[in-house]
Symmetry: C2
Subunit: 242 residues, 2 copies
DNA sequence: CGGAATGTTGAGCTGCTTCAATCGTCGTGG
DNA sequence: CCACGACGATTGAAGCAGCTCAACATTCCG
């Protein structure tokens, strides 16, 4: 059963900027329905021209690009509140794929209506651009990490950032959260080999800083993790929700 | 002497999408003036909250992030037609710095008017979001290159992409273009050390594929370069101009 | 029970880094 | 006119972080 935008549980979180009643009402009309997919499903495919845009409501996924040589680069993790499909919506073609790692539920918007939004609800259009700029920021940050940090620093950064994002969503507590990825996924996100990622995770375990076992991540000492990553801590920025 | 948007030389290039007369007129009002800076000037500073947005008209620059450890990651090169300052315009703070490598001229827009644009000219707002999505695409691509390719592949990709972009702007011909950066800049863009970048450039020189000497880049064999980079070739996408 | 998927560990190799020295060019001041 | 310093490019040498290869452990499922 689809939730109405009025009752959207994400909206109330601190990290998402407030929406006016008029905006909520418009979003309700903009929303086409909900999509539920099983773990492992591909939601958007690189090169495809999908007629639909999504906001993740529940569950966790991945954005990734396939490389000519068979490799894969994970571009970002997809968490509740993330908007996906913008590239297809505007440029007509996705430049990366989006896959559900766990079972996911997504809000579905129709691409034709996107233009309506720009004409009739400029504040929502503004917010969408904001999200795109935020995504650009995330990617620039990831690029700096992958381009310049050591393996240990990258893993520490990756785990901390993920944990802080989950925490901001209310999906983590007392240093514990769910991390449903494979080690290969993290390796592909950080530009490391699987083996090296595995050994680096072991180091963090031995240092009593972060324990990742199966689906479950436990951050014993976020500040130590931040220090290893070479930063003060990771702060999740407030942002709009589409 | 500032050129009017009507006579903007960039607009006529194939790679930029057409603008309606009404749009051109609006842009003329949106435009506050032009900024000319010398080589080496910082146009936008990471962390700053600049009241101005820019479109590069002439000259070449860099976007980069400074790292806590003193390092630097070049996020992208800034070429004519590129829009900079979006993050400050929307999120209130730049997440990277922008620096002029050569003398540059930029169109200046006022940040307050940005919201006006969203209210009164949705087609321009739409185009701005498009540009943000395009930038996201570029960054994702760069991330894949830096995260997964070897040094030789990265350098080949970097030179080819730069060349194709210059070519699309009409700033390259017969395999020659201007490349006013230092080797350190390219190294920082590709996540390589200066020394290794230097040695890799030598390899490409010896293989008679690409010759970079001082300000001048000569691509003898674009297809060989593409092959080394592991791609078919690099195609510059059409895009809007703000 | 057997096979597939994921995680773990060891061993050896190499691409890339860091350190360090040299060279060429250019602008500047004596 | 030349000496000097600054800057960038170039090259050699040595070391290591991270890669690949390969074997084995564990869990889960048909």
């Amino acid at each position: 059963m689809a939730v109405s935008c009025r009752n959207c549980p994400l909206r109330r979180r601190d990290m998402f900027r407030n929406m006016s009643a008029a905006e909520v009402k418009f979003m309700q009309g903009f929303k086409r329905g909900e999509l539920s997919v099983d773990a492992g499903s591909t939601i958007l495919m690189e090169g495809s021209n999908s007629p639909q845009l999504f906001t993740a409501l529940e569950g966790i996924g991945l954005r990734y690009k396939n490389l000519p040589d068979g490799g894969r680069q994970v571009v970002n993790f997809v968490l509740p509140g993330d908007f996906v499909g913008l590239q297809a919506g505007l440029m007509g073609e996705m430049q990366h794929s989006v896959e559900a790692t766990t079972k996911m539920t997504l809000c579905v918007f129709s691409r034709e209506e996107l233009w309506t939004m720009y004409r009739s609800h400029p504040s929502r259009a503004y917010d969408l651009t904001w999200l795109a700029a935020l995504e650009e920021h995330f990617l620039g940050e990831t690029l700096s990490v992958v381009g310049r940090l050591t393996g240990l620093e990258r893993v520490a950064w990756g785990l901390l950032k993920y944990y802080r994002r989950m925490e901001a969503l209310g999906l983590a507590s007392e240093g514990r959260t769910r991390l449903p990825f494979k080690q290969q996924d993290l390796a592909d996100a950080l530009g490391l080999s699987l083996v090296h990622t595995n050994k680096t995770l072991k180091k963090l375990r031995e240092q009593q800083v972060a324990h990742w076992d199966g689906d479950s991540l436990r951050i014993s000492d976020p500040l130590a993790l931040a220090q290893i990553a070479g930063i003060a801590d990771y702060r999740v920025p407030d942002r709009p929700l589409i």
